[in-house]
Assembly symmetry: D2
Homo-oligomer: 398 residues x 4
Amino acid sequence: MTDPSALLHAFRTIRARSVALIEGLSAEDCAAQSMPDASPAKWHLAHTTWFFETFVLETHAPEFRPFHPAYRVLFNSYYNQVGDKHPRPRRGLLTRPGLEDVLLYRQHVDAAVWALLTAEPLPAPVLELLTLGLHHEQQHQELLVTDLTHLLFFNPLAPPWPAAPSLPATLPPMAWLPLASGVSEVGHTGTGFCYDNELPRHRTYIAPGQIASRLVRNAEYQAFVESGGYHDQAYWLAEGWDWLQLHQRTHPLYWQRTGSQWQEFTSSGWAALNPVQATLHVSYYEADAYARWAGARLATEAEWEVAVLTHGCAPSGALYEVYDTAWQWTQSSYGPYPGYQPSAGAVGEYNGKFMVNQYVLRGGSAATPPGHSRPSYRNFFPAGTCWQFSGIRLARQG
Amino acid sequence: MTDPSALLHAFRTIRARSVALIEGLSAEDCAAQSMPDASPAKWHLAHTTWFFETFVLETHAPEFRPFHPAYRVLFNSYYNQVGDKHPRPRRGLLTRPGLEDVLLYRQHVDAAVWALLTAEPLPAPVLELLTLGLHHEQQHQELLVTDLTHLLFFNPLAPPWPAAPSLPATLPPMAWLPLASGVSEVGHTGTGFCYDNELPRHRTYIAPGQIASRLVRNAEYQAFVESGGYHDQAYWLAEGWDWLQLHQRTHPLYWQRTGSQWQEFTSSGWAALNPVQATLHVSYYEADAYARWAGARLATEAEWEVAVLTHGCAPSGALYEVYDTAWQWTQSSYGPYPGYQPSAGAVGEYNGKFMVNQYVLRGGSAATPPGHSRPSYRNFFPAGTCWQFSGIRLARQG
Amino acid sequence: MTDPSALLHAFRTIRARSVALIEGLSAEDCAAQSMPDASPAKWHLAHTTWFFETFVLETHAPEFRPFHPAYRVLFNSYYNQVGDKHPRPRRGLLTRPGLEDVLLYRQHVDAAVWALLTAEPLPAPVLELLTLGLHHEQQHQELLVTDLTHLLFFNPLAPPWPAAPSLPATLPPMAWLPLASGVSEVGHTGTGFCYDNELPRHRTYIAPGQIASRLVRNAEYQAFVESGGYHDQAYWLAEGWDWLQLHQRTHPLYWQRTGSQWQEFTSSGWAALNPVQATLHVSYYEADAYARWAGARLATEAEWEVAVLTHGCAPSGALYEVYDTAWQWTQSSYGPYPGYQPSAGAVGEYNGKFMVNQYVLRGGSAATPPGHSRPSYRNFFPAGTCWQFSGIRLARQG
Amino acid sequence: MTDPSALLHAFRTIRARSVALIEGLSAEDCAAQSMPDASPAKWHLAHTTWFFETFVLETHAPEFRPFHPAYRVLFNSYYNQVGDKHPRPRRGLLTRPGLEDVLLYRQHVDAAVWALLTAEPLPAPVLELLTLGLHHEQQHQELLVTDLTHLLFFNPLAPPWPAAPSLPATLPPMAWLPLASGVSEVGHTGTGFCYDNELPRHRTYIAPGQIASRLVRNAEYQAFVESGGYHDQAYWLAEGWDWLQLHQRTHPLYWQRTGSQWQEFTSSGWAALNPVQATLHVSYYEADAYARWAGARLATEAEWEVAVLTHGCAPSGALYEVYDTAWQWTQSSYGPYPGYQPSAGAVGEYNGKFMVNQYVLRGGSAATPPGHSRPSYRNFFPAGTCWQFSGIRLARQG
């Protein structure tokens, strides 16, 4: 996105969307941290702002002055080249700055970026950093949703959250679609934005197989649960079985049974389990176990990408629930593409250093900002992750 | 306190003081939990209210209706006889009810207690429960201070806190006062209020010895630190040494050295270490090690109590810093007095079930509400505790 | 024991007894370590030898040469003044030196001590160190038994162990014996050996009360278990309840139920629970909970000591199972007597540095070497300890 | 291996080799367990025997009688379909059966297998199970070596071990060999034995690149260490950096520095670091960090396999140190090949259930039995593993 006016528009829209997400929530709601892996909503609002301040304004804005000197450390997530970081498990202790201060911080940085963008033409690297910052912000919009959902899950009062995302009310058809076997190219192509981990575009070989046209539904997953799937080691990876025992799981994290009825916790509170909606918030272990129980498997990330490119997305294409429902666990461990080079500078820490012991999810979810994802997009999380909007798309051989 | 009008006055005063403590703080400040052992300020405000609602109104108020049905579980601390409890480490996740709701909850319960107290005469057991509730609230006022201080300690912004307690600006003289040896009586006496753990009053034998007229000062403790005391196992209990290594302590929790200067974190923020003020926030292990280094020891709780009774408190008596500076670690493990009986009912869980692996602290601190403590008062914490206002009064034989 | 010929006899007898304990066991049995708190039998045999080598021969033997230079570190338990220590949790990895080497080490040191003892008269401090070494060895004889029992407990083959101790086949009568109330003296007296923690002898005040003539029996404890005692928080200290949940205990460690039958693991293997034998291997938490269930309490260590001195031991006295069955948990936390001074030198680390968060057990057990204990003897372990031969003697007020 | 006489010969040879490995070791050496991930040598000797007893004799031998009924549980490693398992972290507590008993157990089972093999012709599935058992035993021969080395590493006496493996005394040349890019087939082919995870043979696409003719040497790795490589986050995966801090590593596990000299612990004890020998016992994190420091990367498992097939092994081929020095970490996470099917029955638990969060190592090591490995062989361990004989072969793009 090297067109400054398009960038201006995107900047205004995306930055506003972050703040819109917390409408109807209290400052207290935005300050708490439910676990070390999650962050307070307020922190997301501040960190995305820090990203622009640190990577763009600090270097490229004439007369840059930090909004507050302590923020450089407070809101650094994991960029060692930037320097010290406030410890991640203590983000929830940052009652100061308050939400109001963070919103002022956003305005301050927004104004400075605005001034930068509307002054003389910016060199391409700065435009690229600004673009990266917007995609970064969209990622944190989704994390803000997942983290808030996790926080509210622990509150017996089940507070309502007006801006919570909702699933599409579709009932997509199930079909097994053939995978285009042979040598294919995967990885980002074209002139649009992508992260460094989507490159280089490269060839891969895909064996004959099929992929499901839609995600696994609650009614299907419920059958797995009720047939004793969580109590039969035969379906589980050894490590997955240990994970089940450690966390004492007998169903997905956000499910509960009241008598004979299943309920599901959503970002709008507890609701009766909807049998025709996609199963959400399962770990890689659960996705893998379900697939084995169902006589299928998870797709590789290359299979997934080629399927999207060849079959297309509904309504015009044959694949349903690609970007708007749940991220889809693949069986691919997250690693570098052949010839992968991290971006230069501190932003090179964005993706590459996490390429071990994580699994790739493809697609997008109800919590993903519209337009944020694409066929080559690689999301990744450890196998035990289930507070993300993660679901299951099956594949099989032949 | 069986005089209803005195009780009315105390109720109004003490309940108001709790709310006054959070003046100048934000709702976010009051919602965070710095560690599982600490609680959010908001939780203290709600739990003390729950105490009156559950133990007094629920049983004794005609037409009692709970303010909110979920609060009975949310704000139960550890009373198994009352039923379920919200998990302690998750108190900081209770962003709802918000601070405003909790203040309304307080008003609702205050009004109901007020109505009860001003209607027909109440039976003695109800008056006793109300009295217990007020002493309970005073204990939580101190905990609110210690917990907030701990929270603010983790914030690099060091937010100011107007209502934070301050130490008396005295410079008490040091003297060794003789202990009255022989058989003495200890434990509560008289008609005033006491907790069940201060009873029965009973005889004990005290050997000849001496007790310090004042607490150990920062300048003295600094000499211990700077002479290498934290690096010489000879001064430490084996378990204390392990504790040092585990927490990587080389000085008290709230101290830090900047160049050659020592600073101390107080509930008002970071300040230069005041050499003539009492050392605060040390663990039992540190108090014991310091005493050994100084060629002395900690007093037993019986020695402490008899010393206060025989020497009296300054200004009229010879003992300084008894109630207004720092709780004083004794060498006595917290256990039952001969013939101890817990109170009947759920409030019997108040003290007795904690009588193992904790050490008694006597006196009171700058954070203790005035008039709350007394000679027979037994505070108790595990040996590794240092976020309380805990200090050192030495004793020695002969 | 300053009579050299008596010391010679004791040395020969006690040193031989240690080796006799492992008769019938394999080198493998003697090398394994069942948990960090326990040690291999071979380590006990070596460490007790190290004690004589390090504290006596190294300083006092002319022409001393260590058996092996590495042993000074390998077999140091916790004496910081001696220097480095092999890490405790890795004692079971010391497959070398082998058992045969350790037995040679014993012979080597025995010969050197023998030579020292039979040469010119030794100064009193050396005789005292030798005496301390023998008492130290007797303590480790008991630990060797407890640790081996714990190891064998984990082996489904339940190997026989010829030298395992057995309980006296008595059926002692139950009576409540009065405690001599008033001021009494406790602590060691006379010219015999004692540890530093039994001194100084001092006065204490004892309130009126009673103590049980015998220990709690299996049939009695079984009634506690079967009445739901392990599932009712009302009987347990809060910390004890947490301990139960953490270790998932529903009965004593060495019990198991097969159908409706209870079995007990003893150092001779699994056997039907003997209803008239004393309950063994309970933690402080369990002893305390049982006492509460039974409407009684544990004695203080002073009460226990005075009771033994005033009532005497069966058969001539009224107290049964004092020294030959199970150590008896007292409610007393382990701490210093008034005026306590640790012994000089490295042996001063023997007792004093453990005086926190441990509870005193009095008496002796089936595994205690005959003659090793005495009325003033203070054994001590953390409250969760249950692999020791620990039992329950009740007391009550009035 | 369906030729019974070849099988007979292999059975005799391989079974004898296991026992030869412990020559010169004591029963104690063979009984200890250095960590939960490692097993005692005795356990390896018993478990490999259990494999034949359980999977072959139990079902296929007429008049089969178990050597000891408890062994079926004691020596089951992880086969849930076989039933209960003795807990892995407690294998070192199995002082019984003693080493002598385990050697008798081996003889007993050897005789029964011998009888089976020399009686009437066996059906193919039984021959296949016997063959699997022999490959299984060879894997455990290597584990026995790695586990014993780890145990001896913790012993300050550094006991000698006559049968310890030694590295080839070669000095292989360094060259960058081209990778055959394009579509290749990988996976096992031919009629020889392979594990289920080497199948199905399938096509894969390989990008242009190069692979090193030999492994990274100690002198090279030392340069990485001495240039500060263990203190610069830029070289490390984020998880690898956390691993370094947690284990406080500043060099490979089996290295130590004495003054300015580096030493290396080998299965023959401590020795001066040999600069021209391959670096051993590095984790995936270390291998990956070294590669980044060296401006290279690890190969994928497909690249490795194709390189061996196209370049051949020295002396006739161009690749050195393929099977006889150190297993070579690849960047490939361990997962199923397209169309992978686990073997039927309990032996299907051999490989498939571990296909998550482990990384593939290719080749073989000085501890691998000669002839055991092959080009398609997939070894796998978690990324933090370093007690295996694991080394580094670099690759690079272009």
